[in-house]
């Protein structure tokens, strides 16, 4: 639905060059919620603004719903008619809501429809319908000053949906909200994604946002996408920073008398009582040091850090059993251990 290839954005000011985006390739599938996470300055904001060409990419292409937006943009700094029409089919939600204080709630939602040149009757029908959808039907005539932050963001979402977009861009939509309100706004986005088949691309610096609603995620650092994929793909990637952040497990690495392994569930195996099977089969005591399990897309995914008695070498068979169950096993600090194994084998 959204594809960027080799997206680069360089800001030039007073002879200095700042590279905000450095060859970003992103692929967002139709109907999914895709989260881009990264710290401030990682280039997330530039990325989302390049998607609807609010920022002109220095190079690279952006394709939304099969339409190459970078080709529509033209050379001048101003947006031509074709680009503006394409933008009207992409909804956008902002961190600071960006609603007009001179208008009522309903008039704010009608604004995109005014731009599209719809009749007054149609505008008001559509606006009321959308306000009902976001749960603000009773606030239609209110001014913004009378609304709470969460309600304002609901108005922002209703406004973004006014043009019947297939794609919704969310620029830190929940970053100015408290945790409780954040949850309800995320739930709303998730519902809209399901009900309307809306493709959502959101940027955030909060891991919880990705965890609670995203089907796929990408991690940005210094203008590059460092990791990306569906949540279960990320979990299956050994050493994935995103997976570690999404499913953090505590506990220290193994020592001489104990072996610590990270078990990653992604898919079927999570429904099997593997740990107790392991314990019974090999008659060993297993301690669970930490675990983070979640239901993502109907499947249980997550990670668990367990401790087995004895050295790693003594536990090769039980670990092999876990691997046979279709689980992914990582041994924290394994890279230090590997040469040791080779040496043992050589003896």
């Amino acid at each position: 639905m959204i594809t960027t290839t080799g997206l680069t954005k360089v800001y030039r000011s007073r002879g200095r060059e700042v590279t905000a985006l450095d060859g970003v390739d992103l692929h967002v599938r139709e109907g999914e919620v895709y989260g881009v996470i990264g710290q401030s300055g990682a280039g997330k904001s530039s990325l989302i603004r390049c998607i609807n060409l609010l920022e002109r990419p220095t190079s690279g292409t952006v394709t939304v719903a099969g339409q190459d937006l970078t080709a529509l943009a033209g050379r001048g700094p101003r947006a031509g008619r074709e680009l503006r029409q394409a933008r009207s089919r992409i909804g956008m939600v902002f961190q600071h809501f960006n609603l007009l204080s001179s208008r009522t709630v309903q008039d704010n939602v009608e604004l995109p429809l005014e731009i599209l040149g719809r009749s007054g009757k149609e505008r008001s029908r559509k606006a009321l319908e959308l306000l009902d959808l976001v749960g603000l039907a009773d606030k239609a005539k209110a001014y913004l000053a009378q609304l709470s932050g969460g309600q304002k963001q609901r108005v922002g979402i209703a406004r973004a949906l006014a043009g019947d977009p297939k794609v919704l861009l969310s620029d830190e939509a929940t970053s100015a909200l408290d945790p409780e309100t954040t949850r309800s706004i995320l739930q709303l986005l998730r519902d809209l994604n399901r009900q309307l088949g809306l493709t959502v691309l959101l940027i955030t610096h909060e891991m919880d946002v990705v965890k609670s609603i995203c089907d796929s995620a990408a991690l940005m650092e210094q203008g590059r996408v460092v990791e990306s994929g569906t949540v279960s793909e990320l979990l299956a990637t050994p050493g994935s920073e995103l997976a570690a952040a999404l499913f953090p497990v505590g506990g220290e690495a193994g020592g001489d008398d104990r072996t610590v392994v990270d078990v990653t569930f992604h898919g079927e195996a999570a429904t099997q009582p593997v740990i107790s099977q392991l314990s019974r089969t090999y008659n060993i005591d297993i301690s669970i040091l930490g675990a983070a399990i979640d239901t993502v897309g109907g499947l249980q995914v997550g990670r668990m850090r367990i401790e087995l008695p004895g050295r790693y070498e003594d536990n090769v068979v039980p670990i092999g059993f876990l691997r046979e169950q279709g689980l992914q096993i990582d041994v924290p600090g394994a890279s230090d251990r590997e040469p040791l194994l080779v040496k043992d084998g050589a003896k």
Partner: protein
Amino acid sequence: MQPLLEQACWDTLYMVGWSTVVAVVGGLPLGILLVLTDRGGLLQNVVANKVIGQVVNVARSMPFIILMVALMGFTRSLTGTTIGREAAIVPLAIGAIPFFARLVETAVREVDDGLVEAVQAMGGNTWTVVRKVLVPESLPSLISSTTTTIVALIGYSAMAGTVGAGGLGDIAIRYGYQRFETELMWITVAVLAVVISLIQFAGDFAARSLHRRGGRSGPGPRLRLLKAKEPAAADISKVA
């Protein structure tokens, strides 16, 4: 004495009224253009911005009485005369346009860039941004700016007496100063004070009630009064 003052009052209001209308019609687009053509603006054009800015600065720092004399040729070509009320309106309006334009520029600059971005993201063009965001969102400030301009124009209009345009300032100088009718001068001063206070009060009230609905507090009882005032506000936005 009373018909004299009455006539002077009307003369002043006539001159100030018309020149305010011209100043708003001319100054509003000019002020918006100053914002749009600035670096990072929607119609970024550094040369145009510098030229407009310079013209506005020079015109604004010109002493009014000199502007009036300097514009005599232009005034005659426009009104056919250089004396009387109509003739005074030309320099008054021309003097007030750059003054109002600067105030408009300051007011429009206050509008949050995020709102502009939001309208662009909806597919709006520059004209939409001006019409739906910049003018309505800065309306309370624009009304205050208009009030300031009217009060400044009343000040300028006192000098219009020098071209035989009459008005309250003219009375104060001719009768109060030149004929030592101190009493008449004080009456003029009092009338001016009342007129200025009324205009300032009306302007502040309009700006405040507009601001109220967007501001922190909920809708007060003034909200209903405001509805009656809205058409006047809409006129200004139409001009844009």
